[in-house]
């Protein structure tokens, strides 16, 4: 049996290091698999290939979490166009302005230190800054 050289997580993070959002495609199920793993959860097959996402998606669910200390922040589930869902947050707008159905695009976030980069999202139609402007600002 072939020994696994690189974990699914390590591969995923290597793509992120290069600024790419990657996911797996199950050849037997003909559908996306996320989070990355060794076995397809739809078929049990090992035949998973890596693909790159175009980074476009839609907010599926959203909440604003209020820590005891610090500013409230968004946590959202994003349905990516290629057919998988992930947890993330939507940036560049107020956390309570994030709405279900909103179109968003991938942006790499580099937290720095020992923490690896991770995907966040921003609205596809960037709102007029700094305050809500006249209609059609997008």
């Amino acid at each position: 049996m072939e020994r696994i050289a690189q974990s699914p997580l390590a591969v995923y993070q290597a793509y992120l290091d290069r600024g790419e959002l990657a996911y797996q495609w199950s050849l037997e199920a003909s559908r996306a698999v996320f989070y990355p793993r060794l076995i397809c959860p739809y078929t049990g097959s090992e035949r998973l290939e890596w693909r790159l996402s175009a980074g476009l998606g839609t907010v599926y669910a959203t909440t604003v979490t209020h820590p005891r200390d610090g500013a409230p922040y968004n946590v959202a589930l994003i349905d990516i166009d290629e057919g998988f869902r992930l947890m993330s947050r939507v940036e560049d707008i107020a956390p309570d302005a994030v709405a279900i159905g909103m179109r968003v695009k991938f942006r790499l976030h580099r937290p720095g230190g020992d923490e690896p980069p991770y995907p966040v999202f921003v609205p596809v139609a960037t709102p007029t800054l700094p305050s809500p402007g006249p209609a059609g600002g997008a």
Partner: protein, 384 residues
């Protein structure tokens, strides 16, 4: 032939351990042992009769070993399945299996938690998930809030409707002498409370208490010879849909749909036959989701269903008659208390909160972040 047999086993003894805030240095195993002692006294059995040991707690990796040693027993059957707060409903099915197969004659199911005393952070291990943890979800609240956001989006469910669940629970709790909360609660008070994860304020979220208890099960034959009327296990069903909220297929449909169907099929009953519901209300959205998925109203109608005191004392459907995880007690894995209350309702022991003529009850457990669902239907002798 095969599978669990309707009415082959029964819950014959129930008891809570100390609840709320327990004495300093009390351990979860202390609370399990106290609960077992009281539950055995409740049915007139003794520790020497126990040959099946079933337990779960977030605070002990090998709770079965620790509890057996503590009690000085070497049980013929042991099960320490842990799937979150619904574990104890899974335990009922596993104990019924063992009793039906003759692997044991008397099984106790026990739970203990001191999370309030030692602090939630120390009471349960939060596993690092590289695909979720970087976004700092405040688990489990954030996950359930995401589910609530979908329900509000798809069905127009309102914060006021969520609050109605908390208010109903509080009204029931005021009828329960051992409930943690002692003061009335209104919808505006729920809405104005400290926001935790939108749409939930702290009043949409279960308590953080200590507590534990035990349930004694035996075969139907033996049950009839004991002190109190048995609560027969008429149906059991279970379903697991995911572990992490980002992997839940549809945030508005829970595994209760499947677990409920399996339990109804085994019990040969439907929602219209159930007299009292004990639903795992870790968050106000839970009660709404489970009312829908267990067939008490159509999908999406749960918010409107709970309005106007419909599930409160004196309403159309008695739900969470002990005051629930929202107002009675929630030590982290709440499922055992649903079984205790359902049994007491069937026995007619509930005093001011007793549902008249109660012959059937559902105890529905939820675990993880809507991840594991397990439904137990109990009934009195006349329903067997």
């Amino acid at each position: 032939m095969g599978g669990l047999q309707r009415g082959s086993a029964a819950i014959v003894g129930v008891a809570e351990s100390d609840l709320g805030a327990v004495a300093a240095e009390i351990s979860p195993i202390d609370l399990m042992a106290q609960g077992i002692h009281r539950a055995l006294a409740d049915c007139g059995l003794a520790l020497k009769d126990v040959d099946g040991l079933v337990c779960a707690t977030a605070q002990s990796r090998t709770s079965g070993l620790n509890l057996a040693e503590y009690l000085g027993i070497s049980p013929a059957f042991i099960d320490t399945t842990i799937l979150g707060g619904s574990s104890f409903m899974f335990h009922v099915a596993h104990a019924q299996m063992a009793l039906q197969l003759g692997l044991c004659q008397v099984a106790v199911i026990a739970y203990g938690s001191t999370q309030r005393t030692i602090g939630r952070r120390h009471a349960s291990v939060h596993e690092y998930n590289p695909y979720e943890t970087p976004f700092h979800p405040f688990l489990p609240s954030t996950a359930y809030a995401l589910a609530a956001s979908r329900h509000m989006h798809q069905f127009g469910t309102t914060r006021e409707q969520l609050a109605a669940v908390a208010v109903a629970a509080r009204q029931w709790a005021l009828l329960n002498p051992v409930a943690w909360e002692k003061k009335p609660l209104s919808v505006p008070e729920v809405l104005a409370a400290r926001m935790i994860s939108y749409p939930f304020t702290v009043r949409d979220i279960c308590l953080v208490t200590d507590g534990g208890g035990a349930v004694v099960m035996t075969t139907a034959e033996r049950a009839r010879s004991l002190k109190k009327p048995p609560a027969y296990v008429l149906g059991c069903g279970q379903a697991i849909t995911h572990a992490n909220i980002s992997s839940m297929p549809d945030l508005t449909v829970t595994g209760a749909l499947a677990s409920g169907k399996a339990a109804y099929d085994m019990a040969k009953l439907g929602p219209g036959d159930i007299d009292v519901l004990e639903l795992y209300d870790a968050f106000t959205i839970n009660t709404i989701l489970f009312l829908e998925d267990l067939g008490f109203c159509a999908k999406g109608e749960g918010g409107r269903f709970v309005e106007g005191g419909h599930i409160a004392p004196g309403g159309g459907l008695p739900v969470n008659t002990n005051g629930g995880g929202l107002s009675y007690c929630h030590p982290g894995m709440y499922g055992l208390f649903l079984l205790i209350e359902a049994t007491r309702q069937l026995r007619g022991e509930c005093g001011a909160r007793q549902v008249a003529g109660c012959e059937t009850a559902i105890a529905h457990g939820n675990g993880g972040v809507l991840s594991s669902q397990s439904t137990v239907i109990l009934g009195v002798e006349a329903t067997v």
